[in-house]
């Protein structure tokens, strides 16, 4: 517990946390606007090609739409949680504080666990901020559209809570990633590229491969990407061309477990000099 306090104090006593919070809120605003536009078209589906009609109508379900809107900003919010998780580790090497940290706590696994917890708490706070904003925005928007608001629906509440799980797990993935790539710039740049470009690239590659080999299952591989899995996790209802929402949760858990365990093992054996 005292370690978690110490790690959270580390986050609180530098500028990074409010810069990231600010970034999250600004990008939440953008995402929410985009989602509003999309939702508008889902609510007024004119001239939709037949093959997409099923998906569109499934997304137009009040619970699905409310869940979709109320988890707005997840994509960029998760990115900031990921970056913060990375920074909690790489900062220690970049600013040469690892020595002091591991002198105070020679039990290194405990330090990693505390960092994970602190990053998860930060994720929780970002989730709370974006969720409050999203819920307020969703109510206003759906009212204006005269659409049904399904905030009380159990699947919507489940989505919002699972979104919290995603925010927390991404903190863990960030910590693991930071341990794997110790260089501050190296880790953040790699993570950003993987997150922003990699997701898209893999989705395209998977799409092409599945078309080329004429194998549908290849397309499913895209869900193994943590960012796609997070989106799947919070998609209130099961859409026709998607796996079940809990598959996303399992994928995220697997990523978090793998990065966490590898990260801890590396940290335990590393020479700090």
């Amino acid at each position: 517990m005292k370690l978690i306090r110490s790690e959270f104090l580390k986050i609180r006593t530098t500028n990074v946390w409010w810069l990231f919070a600010l970034g999250t809120v600004v990008l939440w605003g953008l995402s929410f606007l985009v989602n509003c536009v999309q939702a508008h078209y889902i609510l007024h589906p004119e001239g939709v090609p037949d093959e997409q009609a099923a998906t569109i109508s499934a997304m137009g379900d009040p619970a699905a739409l409310t869940a979709y809107m109320a988890t707005s900003g997840q994509y960029f919010g998760l990115m900031f949680v990921l970056l913060l998780g990375i920074l909690t580790v790489t900062n220690e090497f970049y600013h040469q504080t690892a020595t002091t940290t591991f002198l105070a706590t020679p039990h290194r696994t405990a330090v990693i666990v505390a960092k994970t917890a602190a990053a998860a708490i930060f994720g929780f706070l970002l989730w709370a901020v974006t969720t409050v904003l999203s819920v307020i925005g969703t109510v206003i928007f759906l009212n204006a559209e005269n659409a049904e608001i399904a905030l009380g629906d159990s699947s919507v509440i489940r989505s919002i809570l699972l979104n919290l799980l995603a925010f927390a797990l991404w903190g863990l993935i960030g910590v693991g990633f930071g341990v794997l790539i110790r260089s501050q710039i190296g880790a953040t740049v790699t993570a950003l590229i993987l997150y922003l470009v990699g997701t898209l690239a893999v989705s395209i590659i998977v799409q092409l491969l599945s078309n080329w080999l004429d194998q549908d299952w290849i397309r499913e591989l895209a869900w193994a990407l943590p960012s796609n899995a997070s989106g799947l996790l919070v998609s209130g209802v099961d859409l026709p061309d998607q796996p079940h929402y809990w598959v996303g949760g399992l994928v995220l858990l697997a990523w978090a477990a793998v990065t966490g365990v590898i990260g801890t093992l590396i940290t335990r054996n590393r020479d700090i000099s």
Partner: protein, 305 residues
């Protein structure tokens, strides 16, 4: 704040660290006694920092053990209360204030945040407490390091070149500070290159070169064993009469008018002067200094490998 370490003896035994290119530390054994200041000396690259890091569980030894008060550092239940350390290549987050840096460690050690202010005052950093670390001068950084080490009021203090960047007053302060801690029965292990400072500060020395032990013992023994007997420097307005009174000894006149007497002690010279009725303006025993001994001991050992 009961420390579990009561007898803070440091025992290094067969300690070895091989890096790919170099045997940084090679079968090193020595002990450090509580209640004394022990200087840890060696040329650049001798393996001092590596040894201290192995002692503190930061670097994994290839072989051998190092214990503090009979336990490995990793096995201490409350390491901050047992051992405080200032190591090179250890620093603080540039964007964090000195006070917050210390508070973070207080939190990790389960100590109240007020302890941060106490150690800041102890090292004279209170005026800079709320400034960010990136604005600290070298000496201020060293002081923050010492403050960090003192947070748990440790029984054992380990410092890697703490005098680096300190001003003369700071060096003086540190000498008094470390000696007073040793007088309280604590164990103080300090690495340094400043041999004249070490001679003033340390009771014992451990000298290593190329990762191996070269000499260990009290400063007096090490310097005495190596030196070629006593040297007494004396200054008097009546040098000729004093020379006559000291017939048995060899006396040399120096350019600045002082006399250097070899093969005797200051007491003998003083008594001779009293009998001869000459006034003395200066009377000092000059030992061969630690620097000369150190250079002799480590000569021929490749320093940077």
């Amino acid at each position: 704040m009961g420390s579990e370490i009561t007898n803070g003896e440091i025992v290094v035994s067969g300690l070895t660290k091989h890096y790919k290119q170099v045997k940084a530390v090679d079968g090193l054994s020595f002990t450090v006694k509580p209640g004394r200041v022990t200087g840890f000396l060696g040329p650049n690259g001798a393996g001092k920092t590596t040894t201290l890091r192995m002692l503190l569980n930061l670097v994994r030894p290839t072989a051998g053990t190092a214990t503090i008060g009979g336990r490995r550092y990793a096995d201490l239940a409350d390491p901050m209360a047992g051992v405080g350390a200032v190591l090179e290549a250890s620093s603080a987050h540039k964007g964090r204030t000195g006070r917050n840096h210390l508070r973070v460690i207080c939190a990790a050690a389960g100590l109240p945040a007020s302890r941060a202010d106490e150690v800041l005052a102890l090292v004279g950093l209170t005026p800079a407490a709320n400034r960010k670390f990136k604005g600290y001068s070298l000496g201020m950084r060293q002081r923050l390091g010492i403050a960090t080490a003192m947070i748990g009021d440790p029984q054992v203090l380990i410092l890697d070149e703490p005098a680096n960047g300190l001003d003369p007053e700071g060096i003086r302060w540190m000498r008094d500070f470390l000696q007073s801690l040793a007088a309280q029965g604590r164990t103080i292990l300090v690495s340094s290159h400043l041999l004249s400072e070490m001679e003033l500060l340390a009771d014992d020395v451990v000298i290593i070169a190329a990762g191996k032990l070269v000499a260990q013992g009290s400063v007096g023994d090490i310097v005495g064993n190596m030196g070629d007997g006593g040297l007494v420097r004396v200054r008097t307005p009546k040098p000729d009469e004093l020379i006559a009174a000291l017939d048995s000894a060899t006396v040399a006149r120096q350019d600045d008018g002082a006399l250097v007497v070899t093969g005797t002690t200051a007491a003998v010279v003083g008594e001779a002067a009293l009998r001869a009725g000459v006034a003395l303006h200066e009377l000092v025993t000059e030992r061969p200094d630690l620097e000369r001994v150190f250079l002799e001991l480590t000569a021929g050992k490749e320093a940077i490998r």
